[in-house]
């Protein structure tokens, strides 16, 4: 596989504001990359820099091996789907699709034929004579994508293309865009603030915050081994629970601070004794057991049921969320026990937020030394 997009030490300043900080990114041909992060994290700036709509201040940017730093957008051969779609309002769907071809001087008959082909694949054939204002949101979205497809560009850039659609259509278009990407064998860069979109669509997810890439990798790697507390909290829904804790003197146990509720967990691998850490545990990795039978007990606060799953929030400080599939017998005020697999705990440095990696050899040794399935392996010891 060849590298289609390469960024080396890319920086972008707006006056004194440092919008992109030393971005390194290598995207192989045919990959679907999602840039994800909260608003203002620089993901859109990065995408617009790729398109050439923003000029990078330092570093190097290559598309298909050619240096692009000073190449104007029209010569980069990349197509972009805008959040607003940016359809030309004074042109029909057909004219919108053929615009780039007409600009390049392609013969009219040829351009119309290309437009008809693309329209067939995107289901726009019956709308060719309509104006954008006469189309629904989903149809406009399709026109915007068709306008990109017709050019056979080196890369597709998507700037939050689904954020103006309603929830049901969004889920549908998610699959459609991914299917299109696979069929065209295209290289796509997709900006979104929605981690579900990033997780479900992308081969490679790049999590950004404050102009910095916090972590990048395959979606499930990010879910399983978040590099820091920010990524851990950003990826996954409902969000990961974070509990402040202190490593006990033996280095093998954690004392959790849940306000009035005190709890103790054992670690699968030793951490420096006395260290202040943050323990992360995903709501879906906690099991509810009878009071006194799990790792520790919590009082139930709020119980929300969606029918397929029940979300239980504890009345502790900080709050803990537990997801149980199906219905739950738990009700507010009740005391329940929580069980969890210590291997699914994520330990972060309380100060830097960085993931504390137990030494791998040690970890493996410990796991093999224990019984294979972990029935509520974390031991409960009343404090």
């Amino acid at each position: 596989m060849t590298l289609q997009i390469e960024l080396n030490g890319v920086n972008k300043f707006y006056g004194s504001y440092h919008a992109l900080k030393n971005i390194d990114l290598a995207i192989e041909e045919g990959t679907f990359v999602a840039l994800v992060g909260p608003s203002g994290c620089g993901k859109s700036t990065l995408l617009r820099s790729l398109a050439g709509l923003e000029k990078i201040s330092a570093g190097e940017m290559k598309i298909a091996g050619a240096r692009m730093n000073d190449v104007p957008p029209r010569k980069r051969d990349v197509a972009m789907v805008f959040q607003s779609y940016a359809l030309y309002p004074h042109m029909t769907v057909e004219e919108n699709l053929t615009y780039s071809l007409r600009i390049r001087g392609v013969k009219k008959a040829e351009a119309l034929k290309a437009a008809a082909e693309v329209a067939t694949t995107t289901g726009l054939s019956h709308l060719m004579k309509r104006y954008p204002r006469e189309l629904s949101g989903g149809q406009r979205q399709r026109v915007a994508m068709s306008r990109a497809i017709i050019r056979h560009p080196k890369a597709f850039l998507f700037d939050e293309p689904l954020s103006n659609l309603d929830a049901a259509l969004r889920v549908h278009m998610r699959k459609e865009i991914r299917a299109l990407h696979d069929r065209l064998g295209a290289t796509s860069v997709y900006v979104t603030h929605d981690q579900i979109e990033a997780m479900t669509m992308a081969d490679h997810v790049v999590v950004m915050r404050d102009g910095v890439i916090e972590q990048q990798g395959r979606p499930l790697d990010l879910y399983d081994r978040p590099a820091n507390r920010f990524v851990a909290g950003f990826i996954g829904s409902p969000a990961m629970n974070f509990i402040p804790a202190v490593v006990e003197d033996d280095g093998a146990h954690l004392a959790l601070d849940l306000g009035a509720t005190k709890a103790r967990l054992s670690l699968v691998a030793p951490v420096a004794p006395g260290a202040s850490v943050t323990v992360g545990i995903r709501p879906e990795h906690i099991r509810i057991v009878g009071a006194g039978q799990g790792a520790f007990n919590i009082p139930v606060g709020v119980v929300e049921s969606t029918g397929s799953a029940t979300y239980i929030t504890s009345a502790t400080q900080p709050e803990l969320m537990v997801v149980e599939t199906g219905r739950s017998a738990a009700s507010g005020g009740e005391l329940i026990g929580l069980a969890m697999d210590p291997r699914q705990l994520h330990i972060f440095d309380a100060e830097t937020g960085k993931r504390l990696e137990p030494q791998k050899a040690l970890l493996d040794a410990q796991i093999t030394s224990r019984a294979a399935p972990h029935p509520a392996a974390a031991t409960f010891s009343p404090s």
Partner: protein
């Protein structure tokens, strides 16, 4: 009775009441004089019959007489030249300035506001200023043209039959350019920026973007401004009064000035009214274009 009263307080009667007030106002202050003017163009009017409405009806005699006069066609031609050249000049310079300020360099909006000074000035004052600039012996314009080598001898702008109309046109372009610029600036700022970005990514260079995005998106604004330009230039009276008074020998005379001249200097009220009616036809046409183009706005 009760139904009528309640309809006035909370029904259609109230709406009709609200609409009828401005309509009555328009009818009394615009409609009646207009109708009176049209009626007068079909009557024989002199100083003695001016006070009464029942005057001898003469059919199209006033129109036939008017077009029999030797100065009529030259004056109509002058009007056409004045209107076309003024609109073209105001629009092109105004559009150029609007595009220039659209670049948004530091101080652009401040400078753009300053341009409005020319528009808020009374026509007679503008005429007086341009009388100095255009002056044949010591005018600044002659000085500039002479020093740059464009002309060898002085041009007597206001008294030379070849230039008198253009003297007023130059002043009128100066007067109307900033208004064109402001309206066109508003139109330009209404075009979404991402259209240009999309076009740029689609491979269009600056010239192509102007031709395929800016101009078509500005169509309604341009239609409105040309129609307004026609209406405003046909109303331009002060500059003629201040600069040439229509002379010499009618070479800078136009219909709107001539109508006044006929009515209130030569006391030929019927012919003055006749010329006005001809102008009404053109202005009505322009109004229709204006209303249509502002209604057909293309907005994504």
């Amino acid at each position: 009775m009760k139904r009528i009263l309640s309809s006035i307080t909370d029904g259609r009667g109230f709406d009709i009441g609200l609409v009828s007030l401005p309509l009555a106002f328009l009818f009394v202050l615009s409609g009646l004089p207009l109708v009176y003017n049209v009626v007068m163009s079909f009557q024989e009017v002199d100083m003695f019959s001016l006070g009464s409405f029942s005057r001898p009806f003469v059919g199209f005699k006033n129109y036939i007489d008017l077009f029999a006069q030797p100065e009529t066609w030259p004056i109509l031609l002058n009007t056409a030249i004045f209107v076309t050249a003024s609109i073209a000049g105001q629009f092109l310079i105004g559009f150029g300035l609007a595009l220039f300020f659209w670049v948004n360099f530091p101080g652009a909006s401040w400078l753009r506001g300053l341009f409005l000074v020319s528009w808020v000035m009374p026509g007679l004052v503008v005429g007086a200023i341009w009388n100095w600039i255009l002056s044949g012996d010591f005018g600044v314009l002659n000085f500039l043209l002479r020093e740059t080598g464009v002309i060898s001898g002085n041009i007597f702008w206001r008294s030379d039959p070849n230039y008198s109309l253009w003297a007023v046109i130059i002043a009128n372009i100066w007067l109307g350019t900033s208004f064109n610029m402001i309206l066109l600036s508003v139109g330009l700022s209404g075009i979404p920026k991402d259209l240009y970005e999309a076009a740029e990514l689609d491979g269009a260079n600056a010239f192509q973007r102007f031709w395929t995005i800016t101009l078509p998106m500005m169509r309604s604004t341009i239609g409105a401004i040309v129609a307004l330009g026609l209406i405003f230039t046909l109303q331009q009276f002060d500059l003629f009064a201040a600069i040439t008074s229509g002379g010499p020998n009618n070479t800078s005379n136009v219909t709107q000035y001539w109508a006044w001249d006929l009515s209130f200097r030569q006391y030929d009220f019927a012919k003055g009214a006749t010329i006005s009616v001809i102008m009404i036809v053109f202005v009505m046409f322009a109004s229709v274009v204006y209303v249509r183009s502002t209604r057909h706005e293309v907005r994504g």
